[in-house]
Symmetry: none
Subunit: 419 residues, 2 copies
């Protein structure tokens, strides 16, 4: 059986995984088939696969695997395509070819494409108008294709999205804040990205759906294999109103590695990542690490220091410069701030800051005069000056301000404090 | 009645407020009397009083108030003593003299000294071997004297001390972490500084005493007036094993202003300030503001975002660059980090070279703004503009560039130079 199907079969397979009505050329069909094949033969995040596909194109790159080119020949091809010598040497072509070759199985690719079409999964590839722009930042580690289920316009959600992630072993506190955060961000027009896990992830998706918001779940296995099993119904609802996405082909099982790589997609497709509750070694810290590495805003919600379930969040704030966020408004602000990025407009003066921190809009002299006032006995200006340790002129000025504010009033025999 | 008592009375009064066995000269007795008088006639933090006393000495400075010198004559005296013209003009001498004069009452000073001796209070003044070194950073706003109760060596506690502060309206969570923090820091050899208020302050003192640690309470009124009244016994225990301190003379009542100024002493005498629990407008944020302004390490303990009692702590972490601290070990680390962090004298040539290289690429405006920055005291844009002789717009632009370069950073109360 040849690896590449004939053109008619290719068109047929490709049509099955494109949104209905999408125009399809033979060239695009071949591209889709090649990328589907790449998603079968390379593991997520394979930088050498990314390099080869980027330099030579998905179809020619697939051919060199099929034709079992030698590492030297591939290297020459890459150099000819303009890849730098150092990059080619560092790419580890011999080992890469060794790991791709055994996976090369035309049946597997066709089955995954047919299974995708059967389960309503689509195939998105770079260049599609709604291909998530943020993935570009992953460079050669960007996914070669994305399998997804959802309404035709589902991938548009990424333009305004925030990732809410956290531990499976969430506390009631964590679930509560996940719910509040998700609903609050949906109210502000954001789509909620998460990983469909139990605990925080699940609560974030559920609250988004309950608020009639858009939500996207990234899976570590095929989109036809709902995982975890307790979230079958939830994933069905997400696919109905948002999107369920994976870079693994249909039928693929989730593995530890794929979970870790899945996390990079959550971070890369979101404008910001917020960790809501996480233990000291929670997997969600990995997502946070990807966000930080990509230079995306990273927020963490604090919790009781007595709760091990918040230790990871505090660690992110302490050691990884995550912003301490406590409300949906502050989470949204994180994105707004990031869009401006290098705010060169500093607060006008420190008096404002100091005033803010001291609490109360009064000057120090007004505070002192207010202290010196009695609520019952009227006091004259000289008396107040002595008590406050201020000049009579300062006292008069302060009394004027306090009077305007309604905090003090003048009687026949002096000034009193208003109750 | 003359303002200054005769030498015998002065020696007598001074002896009463010095630790037993302390050697006393007539000169020191006069100094003690003058500073006691200053603590009666000026309110805490009176920068003009600080300036005059610093420039002329406490005794001559008191004489000019007694003899009702004109502002012009005082100004001439200050200029002769080497104070800069601009500083003299900005000092507001006319208003200062006006506010000191009505407070000048020899009877009040003598009564406060006698009352101090009766209640076992001592008078510490700058130059005493255990005068808290950190107070120097307050400049002209440093206290002119401190009244204190406690064992003879009590003031030595400041050499290794951490301030634990927080809201009066503490939750059980807040009290729990205050207890843990205080006991844990005592175990690590730190003295605990606080303000003796209900809630967090009280718990911090109590836990320190329970762990046989040293603890110091700063009051906003006289040390003979235990405040709050519910803490009479606690303050008695603190005075027995640690120290109860105030810059107000015996008999003075606490006022709002004095509480705010008391907070600067807590921040200045501690190596670091930690806010354990604080509402959005808690007074403890004022102490935090002082610590930040002084360039001291500032920590805040997070809590549930659902608890308004932790909102102030989260605000400090978010907006004022407080370090998120969750254990006593992390609080102690804050001090350790700070001790290595602020070495302003780099004798090594590498640093010089690097500086030279870094300096080479700067515009003249950037060089001038960098010169105007301090390594320790944050300076606001307006202040920097004045020092550098540039417009605020130019200063902002230069700060932006220096910030990107990593040569300067913004703190809550202004900009500092990076070491």
């Amino acid at each position: 059986m040849p690896f590449e199907p004939d053109e008619t079969t290719m068109m047929d397979l490709a049509t099955g995984v494109r949104p209905p009505g999408a125009a399809l050329t033979a060239e695009l069909a071949a591209e889709l088939h090649a990328r589907a094949a790449w998603s079968c033969i390379s593991e997520p995040g394979d930088g050498t696969a990314g390099l080869v596909v980027r330099a030579l194109g998905a179809v020619p790159a697939l051919r060199l695997v099929i034709e079992a080119w030698s590492p030297d020949r591939v290297a020459r091809e890459l150099l000819a395509a303009g890849v730098e010598q150092g990059t080619v040497v560092a790419a580890g072509l011999d080992r890469a070819l060794e790991r791709w070759r055994p996976r090369l199985d035309p049946v597997v690719v066709m089955i995954s494409l047919r299974q995708a079409a059967r389960s309503g999964a689509r195939l998105a590839i770079p260049g599609d108008h709604d291909w998530p722009a943020g993935l570009e930042d992953l460079g050669v580690h960007a996914p070669l294709a994305l399998w997804w289920r959802g309404p035709a316009d589902a991938l548009g959600a990424f333009r305004e999205s925030i990732a809410l992630v956290g531990a499976r072993a969430a506390t009631r506190y964590g679930e509560h804040i996940a719910m509040e955060a998700s609903a609050g961000l949906v109210d502000r027009g954001f789509a909620i990205i998460s990983g469909a896990a139990y605990g925080i992830d699940g609560m974030a998706h559920k609250a988004a759906l309950a608020s009639s918001g858009r939500t996207v779940a990234f899976l570590a296995g095929g989109v036809d294999r709902p995982y975890p099993s307790g979230h079958v119904d939830l994933l069905e609802r997400i696919a109905g109103e948002g999107a369920v996405i994976s870079e693994l082909p249909c039928g693929a099982a989730p593995t530890k590695w794929r979970f870790l790589q899945r996390n990079r997609l959550i971070a890369a497709t979101s404008l910001a990542t917020i960790v809501l509750e996480a233990g000291w070694r929670s997997g969600s810290l990995n997502t946070a690490g990807h966000a930080a590495a990509l230079g995306r805003p990273l927020g963490a919600v604090p919790g009781p220091v007595t709760s091990p379930a918040s230790a990871g969040c505090h660690r992110l704030i302490r050691e990884y410069d995550a912003v301490c966020v406590t409300t949906a408004a502050e989470m949204a602000e994180l994105v707004a701030e990031h869009l401006v990025q290098v705010p060169l407009d500093f607060p006008e003066s420190d008096t404002e800051t100091e005033r803010g921190i001291a609490g109360g809009g009064r000057t120090s002299e007004q505070v002192r005069v207010f202290d010196a006032l009695s609520g019952r006995s009227p006091r004259e200006v000289g008396d107040l000056a002595r008590r406050a340790g201020l000049s009579t002129m300062s006292v008069r000025a302060a009394l004027g301000a306090l009077g305007l504010e309604g905090a003090a009033r003048e009687r026949a025999t002096g000034w009193v404090r208003n109750a």
